[in-house]
Amino acid sequence: MSMKLTNAQIAWRAAQDIEDGAYVNLGIGFPEMVAKFQAPGRHVTYHTENGVLGFGDAPPEGEEDWDLINAGKKAITLKPGASFFHHADSFAMVRGGHLDVAILGALQVAQNGDLANWRVGSKGVPAVGGAMDLVHGAKRVAVITEHVTKDGKFKLVDECTFPLTGVNCITRVYTSLAVVDISDSRFVLREKLPGMSLEELQSFTGAPLHVEGDVGELEVPEV
């Protein structure tokens, strides 16, 4: 694949769908990048599993307070209107459906909305964190990911082969090539890169891409 979105561009695209006033949890790692591209004029409140609502950017290096971190253990700052709470209240927010959007990374997403993103097999030290909680509860649970793995394997699949994080939980996938919804246990193509044919995109996708109405052009600025 010669043309594809950068990670920053995928994050930018996902950020555009976050509505004004939304409460959002961004998974550790790549999804955290979405905050950088918050659409101008929209007020978004970020939640982190370890008990902070309303945090802002990282502090300048050397000014970190390590009692003020996010779920990725990175130093954060607070915005006006922030609040602290304990872990059970934090996951009450998650599980109780109080977050508008959760955006997660993925190893595999299946056409029925199953997500695998916490381990690739049964070897090594397993570590799940809050992933299995985050996939349940947020009003909209989306994934951002490369469309295929580095060695060309499908990430959008008919059925996950890696251990599951959750079943029937993902409703939208933002990839380096397309925006795909999951509806009635099918992948429904919403946007694709302008220069890529549907056939080519399908060849990178491990389950049928359905088309319902118009397919938009996935146009993202250089970011």
Binding site: Y23, T45, G54, P80, G81, A92, R95, G96, H98
Partner: protein
């Protein structure tokens, strides 16, 4: 993002007939009298909302607040732990006449069911009420040698809550023991409406002092000098 609503009338305008409403307060402490009376005003004017299910620890006192809602016929069902008070006539008369339903729930189970509703926990086991008539028909199971009853979460369409300070994002503090059911009901309702003695800009509440984070709150309306239900009852106020 500013969740402030200008008037009490606007704040309660969207509550439809048949809604399930959690109303904060334990006795008079925490009772959102102005929000309740704004809802009563709406009912008087429009005949709506009616057939409400109201969740509160009690079932009204005297002739104000929830008691007045019951008295004028807005309430179809009460879910509460203690439908008695110093002047319980509103509920008692309707109940004995078969004109209002009652779901009686032990107080701790009521609190826990509301929290569960807000926390996405559909059911839990508790030793409370095992072997009593309030456990009839509920699944039971033994844990660590102790029999427990399974209870389901309780959610609502709306919550009416009295806070002390609110900020524009809906972060809340409460005054003294008026905290009681407020933080739980804010979590368990689809749309939480709060009256606060003062509304401040974001940053006006210490992040460590926030009791209810704003994500649980949808609307705040300032009532700068709120009435206190118990004081009103002692003064003989009626709102029917």
């Amino acid at each position: 993002m500013n969740k402030t609503i200008a008037t009490l009338d606007e704040a309660v305008a969207g509550i439809p007939d048949g809604a399930v409403i959690m109303i904060g307060g334990f006795g008079g402490s925490g009772a959102p009298i102005e929000l309740i009376h704004a809802l009563i005003d709406r009912y008087r004017k429009d005949g709506s909302p009616h057939d409400l299910t109201v969740v509160n620890n009690n079932a009204g006192n005297g002739r104000i607040g929830i008691a007045a809602m019951i008295d004028i016929g807005m309430v179809r069902k009460m879910i509460c732990s203690f439908p008695k008070s110093s002047d319980p006539r509103a509920f008692t008369e309707k109940y004995l006449a078969g004109e209002i339903e009652l779901e009686l729930v032990p107080q701790g189970t009521l609190a826990e069911r509301i929290r569960a509703g807000g926390a996405g926990i559909p059911a839990f086991y508790t030793p409370t009420s095992f072997g009593t008539e309030l456990a009839e028909g509920k699944p039971v199971e033994e844990f660590d040698g102790r029999m427990c009853v399974r209870e389901n979460w309780l959610k609502a369409d709306f919550a009416l809550i009295k806070a002390d300070t609110a900020d524009h994002h809906g972060n809340l503090t409460y005054r003294y023991a008026s905290r009681n059911f407020g933080p739980l009901m804010c979590m368990a309702a689809g749309h939480t409406i709060v009256q606060a003695t003062r509304i401040v800009a974001p940053g006006g509440i210490d992040p460590e002092a926030v009791v209810t984070p704003g994500l649980f709150v949808d609307a705040v309306v300032e009532v700068a000098e709120p009435q206190q239900e118990e004081a009103m009852i002692r003064a003989g106020v009626a709102y029917v």
